[in-house]
C-alpha cells in the first residue's frame, strides 16, 4: 500500500514516516496541503492519505473535500490527524469526507491498527473494482471473438453519429458477413466454425485503423464503425479487410479457405446521421456483394 503522510509538524511527520516504513509500506511525505494535493493528484497516486487537519495554506479538511469532489479517480482513504476532539469537529471531519481520524498524541500501535482497518477497506474496494471491470467487459464484449457485442457496437455507432453530426464529419459503417459460413460448420464442425470466426475477427481488427471499432453484430456478421470516414476511405479499409481474410486460409487443423463480403455505408454518401438508415444501406450493399459473387465490397448509394 502506498501512503501519503502530510503534516507541517516535522516531529509527527517523521514519526509517521518512520513507523510506516518499518511496517513495510511505501510512504511519501508532504509538509503542507498543496504538497499533499500534488502528491494525491500526480502520477502513481497513493491509495491512502494521512492528513493533518491544521496545515498552512490548504488544510487537511480542504484536501479531503477536493478529493471527494473528484468522483472519477479511484477512491483514496483519508485518515485525518487532529488535536481536536469536540463532537462538532469530528462531524465536520467526516462531513468533509474523512474515513477515520486519529487524535494527537497517538502511539504507533493505534496508528497501525487504524492503517490495518484502512487496508481492509482498500482491499475490498480493489476487489470491487476488479469485479466491476470484469462485469463491464462481460456486458460489452462477445465471449467467442472478444469483439464488442451487438449492444456495445450499436451504442458506439450512435455516439459516433451524434458526434459526427455536431462536427459535420462523415461516419462510415461496414457490415461484413462470412461467405458460406453454414457450410464451414456443416463440413468441419462447430469448433472449426468458431475458430474461423475468431480468426476473421482478428484479421478485421488488424486491417482497420486503430480508432475504428469492430463488433460482432450477429452470428457470422461483424460490424465496423469508422469515425471520420468518407466513401473513398471506407472502401479502401473494407478492401484491405476483405483481402486480409481471403489471403490465407483460416484455422490450422484443418485450414479452411474463407472469404467475406462487405456492405459499406457512410453518412456523407447517404445524407443521413440516422443509424437505422445507415445500417439498412450497408445491409442492402452487403446483399449486392453476395449476389455479385461474394468476396467483394459494395458501397451503399442514395
Amino acid at each position: 500500500m502506498k501512503i501519503l503522510a502530510a503534516d507541517d509538524d516535522p516531529v509527527w511527520l517523521r514519526m509517521i514516516e518512520a513507523m510506516i516504513r518499518e511496517w513495510g509500506d511505501e510512504v511519501v511525505t508532504a509538509r503542507d496541503g498543496s504538497e499533499a494535493w500534488q502528491a494525491l493528484t500526480g502520477p502513481n497516486r497513493p491509495s491512502l492519505a494521512i492528513l493533518d487537519w491544521v496545515m498552512p495554506g490548504m488544510d487537511g479538511l480542504e484536501v479531503c473535500r477536493r478529493l471527494r469532489d473528484d468522483t472519477e479517480s479511484p477512491y483514496i482513504y483519508v485518515l485525518l490527524l487532529t488535536a481536536r476532539d469536540s463532537k462538532a469537529d469530528l462531524i465536520r471531519a467526516f462531513d468533509a469526507g474523512a474515513d477515520d481520524y486519529i487524535r494527537k498524541p497517538f502511539d504507533p500501535d493505534e496508528l497501525r491498527a487504524r492503517l490495518r482497518a484502512a487496508g481492509r477497506i482498500m482491499d475490498l474496494q480493489a476487489a470491487l473494482l476488479m469485479a466491476q471491470g470484469e462485469l463491464r467487459q462481460q456486458a460489452t464484449h462477445d465471449a467467442l471473438t472478444g469483439l464488442l457485442n451487438r449492444g456495445a457496437i450499436s451504442e458506439i455507432f450512435e455516439r459516433e453519429l451524434a458526434r459526427a453530426k455536431r462536427e459535420e464529419m462523415s461516419v462510415g459503417v461496414l457490415l461484413a458477413d462470412v461467405d458460406h459460413f453454414k457450410s464451414v460448420n456443416d463440413t468441419h464442425g462447430h469448433d472449426t466454425g468458431d475458430e474461423v470466426l475468431r480468426q476473421v475477427a482478428r484479421r478485421l481488427q488488424g486491417a482497420v485503423r486503430t480508432y475504428d471499432l469492430v463488433g460482432r453484430y450477429g452470428g457470422e456478421e461483424l460490424m465496423v464503425v469508422l469515425p471520420r470516414c468518407d466513401d473513398e476511405s471506407a472502401f479502401r479499409i473494407a478492401e484491405r479487410a476483405r483481402a486480409a481474410v481471403a489471403s490465407t486460409p483460416c484455422g490450422s487443423d484443418p485450414a479452411v479457405p474463407v472469404t467475406i463480403s462487405m456492405g459499406i455505408a457512410t453518412s456523407r454518401a447517404l445524407g443521413t446521421f440516422d443509424a437505422n438508415a445507415l445500417v439498412r444501406g450497408a445491409d442492402a450493399a452487403l446483399y449486392r456483394a453476395k449476389n455479385g459473387g461474394r468476396n467483394r465490397c459494395e458501397l451503399a448509394t442514395r
Binding site: 516535522p10 516531529v11 518499518e22 491544521v54 498552512p56 488535536a83 498524541p105 504507533p108
Partner: protein, 159 residues
C-alpha cells in the same frame, strides 16, 4: 546549521533521563551553551517530558528518535519567533496556528507543561483577543526552553 548530532544517540543519557523521570529526581545538568535565566530550574526530564513514553512513540527506535529530537530543536526557534511576532502584531490567527503547532510537537514528547501552556495560548488566540497573551507567550518560551534543554541532554549535543 544550528548544531550537529552525534550519532548514535547516547542511549546511556536517554536511559538516565528515563530513570530520572521515573524516580522524579533531577540529575546534575552538564554545562549549557546558553546560560539559563536565573528563574529557570536546572533541566531534567522529570516533569518536563516523559522519555519512556516518547521513545515508545517510535517503538523504541533510537535513531528515529534522535532525528525527531533534532527536527524539533531545529524547528523550535522559528516557531517561537513566529509566536512572538504574531502576539506582538496582535495577529490572533497566526498566534493560534503557532501555538497549535507547538502543542502538537510538545505532545509527542509528553511535555505536559509546554503542551498545557501552548493550549492556553491557542485557546486565548481563538477568541481573537490577544490582550494579555504576552504572559502566556513568555510561559511558553520558558517551558519550551526547559524542554529543549532536557532534550539536548538526551541527545548528547556537542557544545
Amino acid at each position: 546549521m544550528d548544531g550537529y548530532l552525534s550519532k548514535p544517540l547516547q542511549i546511556q543519557r536517554l536511559q538516565e533521563a528515563i530513570e530520572a523521570s521515573v524516580a522524579g529526581t533531577a540529575r546534575e545538568a552538564p554545562p549549557m551553551s546558553v546560560p539559563l535565566p536565573p528563574h529557570v530550574a536546572p533541566p531534567s526530564a522529570a516533569g518536563v517530558w516523559k522519555p519512556a513514553e516518547a521513545l515508545a512513540r517510535v517503538a523504541g527506535n533510537e535513531t528515529v528518535f534522535a532525528e525527531i529530537v533534532h527536527a524539533f530543536l531545529q524547528d523550535l526557534p522559528t516557531l517561537l519567533q513566529e509566536l512572538q511576532s504574531a502576539v506582538a502584531a496582535g495577529d490572533a490567527e497566526r498566534a493560534s496556528r503557532a501555538a497549535h503547532r507547538l502543542r502538537g510537537s510538545a505532545s509527542f514528547f509528553e511535555a505536559e507543561p509546554l503542551t498545557k501552556a501552548a493550549q492556553r495560548l491557542e485557546a486565548t488566540a481563538r477568541t481573537g483577543d490577544l490582550s494579555g497573551a504576552d504572559g502566556a507567550r513568555r510561559e511558553i518560551e520558558d517551558e519550551a526552553r526547559r524542554l529543549a534543554e532536557a532534550l539536548t541532554i538526551v541527545q548528547g549535543r556537542k557544545r
